[in-house]
Amino acid sequence: MANTSSLGVTGPAVVKAASAPKHRAPLVTMATIRQIAANLIPPVVVMLAFLVIWELLCSRPGAGLPPPSRVVTEAWDIIAHPFYDNGGTDKGLFWHIAASIQRVAFGFALATVVGILVGTLIGQSDWAMRGLDPIFQVLRTIPPLAWLPLSLAAFRDGQPSAIFVIFITSIWPIIINTAVGIRNIPQDYRNVSAVLQLNPIEFFTKIMLPSAAPYIFTGLRIGVGLSWLAIVAAEMLIGGVGIGFFIWDAWNSSHISEIIVALVYVGIIGFILDRFVAFIGNLVTRGAAA
């Protein structure tokens, strides 16, 4: 019934839409170009203005930081050759970033699994919530780097320590958001599962996870952002290959231009990581997550 009536409405509309581009195809293209330009021009203009101001401010003799033109010429080596590898820590930016991303991937993956399980536990059980919540509320305020000495003492190695710092940094928002998501599962869904007599595993995979997914992915996005913040700082201290160490090394050799290039990379990668998690979230929740 609804089907036939909607067909009746869309019928003529479809014909109109189909005939429009035939006659006025160029207009549509102009509109599209204008649309793209409207989105593209503001950031480009602001970016250019920013570079010009920076250039003007830092071109004066005695300026502490190099202007953008000098950054490009001085750091051209590392901009143009991100893939070189001379052994040890003398590698291109790509390898440093790859090492950092790998650490984040390990620590963050671990935090995701543990965080969702613990979050589910404290979301489901009032007892676990009352027992664990005070501890978590205190632990989560500890700055990431404060964990580093402790983890170095425990693991006696830089690599697992860095991964642990990522883990402990990113797990709190995952736990808390998962718990809130689980607590917010509507009673209706629980009733549906009760009538169907779903077992706990089916309830977890078929009702809990999808229902809490938007909350969980909010936690994951915050978590991945925090881990990227933490990894740079942690790598400055533990050394080895990694973007954090690269920045610290450049500072020790007074290569300010290289630091600036590295910061641009760090920012862009952080942005990509955030968007990547958001993209996965959108895929999984089919647009329900923000």
Binding site: D188, N191, V192, V195, Q197, P210, S211, A213
Partner: protein, 264 residues
């Protein structure tokens, strides 16, 4: 012959040390294939009765017997159609029904038979065309149809409807009532429906259970609706049995058991 027997159930909730008796001594016997409505003012505990039959709430006293066996936990033999449809928004219409079918019929039917059964139930409520859409993409009436299909697909012994059409506009509601009557005529499930709509109760039911106001609500009166099936709403408007039944229910609700808050 009694199929489902609600025997002297009562329920009390204790909050902050104060005990509040919601239901007392509610007894209804329902035969196989019978359509029974529960009607009463809001807050009188209609939904509580339904939830106890569904097993979602435990009665403080009394018991519910289905085919002479006590039931006190939820199960697919007493499928519920919830007021707000309760479809899972991340699943398509078809997946919502198949979640129920695959769980309930696993081991009893092959995968192919189950798929056929899902299609059959979607066709029953005229939702085949929207099978691949998600709940957010279909209208309220369509969602309620899917909720009914999901419940029917479990082949329940008793179908429990909790104000199934309460949130719908009058035209959609009438349309779904006709569908429900037609499906009930074909399948012959026992049905308990909660409603606050007098016309809906009279049109659909074999018997109407009228509940008194809470606290300690109970069955006030049971009215038998002696109308031939299939029933057609247009013909019934003038039917003396229909108008009489309607008047009886109205009289019970608004004269003898008017809600104090409304009467005041």
């Amino acid at each position: 012959m009694t199929y489902l027997s609600i025997e002297n159930i009562g329920i009390s909730f204790t909050r902050n040390g104060r005990t509040n008796e919601v239901l007392r001594d509610v007894s209804v016997k329902i035969a196989k294939g019978e359509f029974v409505s529960l009607i009463g003012h809001s807050g009188c505990g209609k939904s509580t009765v339904l939830n106890i039959v569904a097993g979602l709430l435990k009665a403080s006293t009394g018991a519910v017997l289905l085919e002479n066996k006590e039931v006190n936990s939820p199960g697919p033999d007493r499928a519920v159609v919830f007021q707000n449809h309760s479809l899972l928004p991340w699943l398509t219409v078809r997946e919502n029904v198949s979640l129920a079918v695959d769980k309930v019929m696993k081991g009893k039917k092959t995968k192919a038979e189950r798929n056929e059964w899902i299609d059959h139930n979607l066709a029953l409520v005229n939702m085949t065309h929207a099978a691949e859409r998600r709940p957010s993409e279909i209208s309220g009436g369509m969602k309620q149809r899917v909720g009914i299909a999901r419940a029917l697909a479990m082949e329940p012994k008793v179908l429990l409807l909790d104000e199934p059409f309460g949130a719908l506009d009058a035209l959609t509601r009438a349309h779904l009532q006709d569908s429900l009557m037609e499906i009930h005529g074909r399948l012959g499930n026992a049905v308990i429906m909660i409603t606050h709509d007098v016309d809906e109760a009279v049109l659909l039911s074999d018997r109407i259970v009228m509940m008194t106001n809470g606290p300690s609500a109970t069955v006030g009166e049971i009215l038998k609706v002696d109308l031939e099936r299939p029933r057609r709403r247009l013909e019934l408007v003038e039917d003396p049995t229909y108008t009489h039944a309607r008047a009886e229910v109205l009289e019970f609700l608004y004269a003898r058991h008017a809600k104090p808050a409304i009467a005041a």
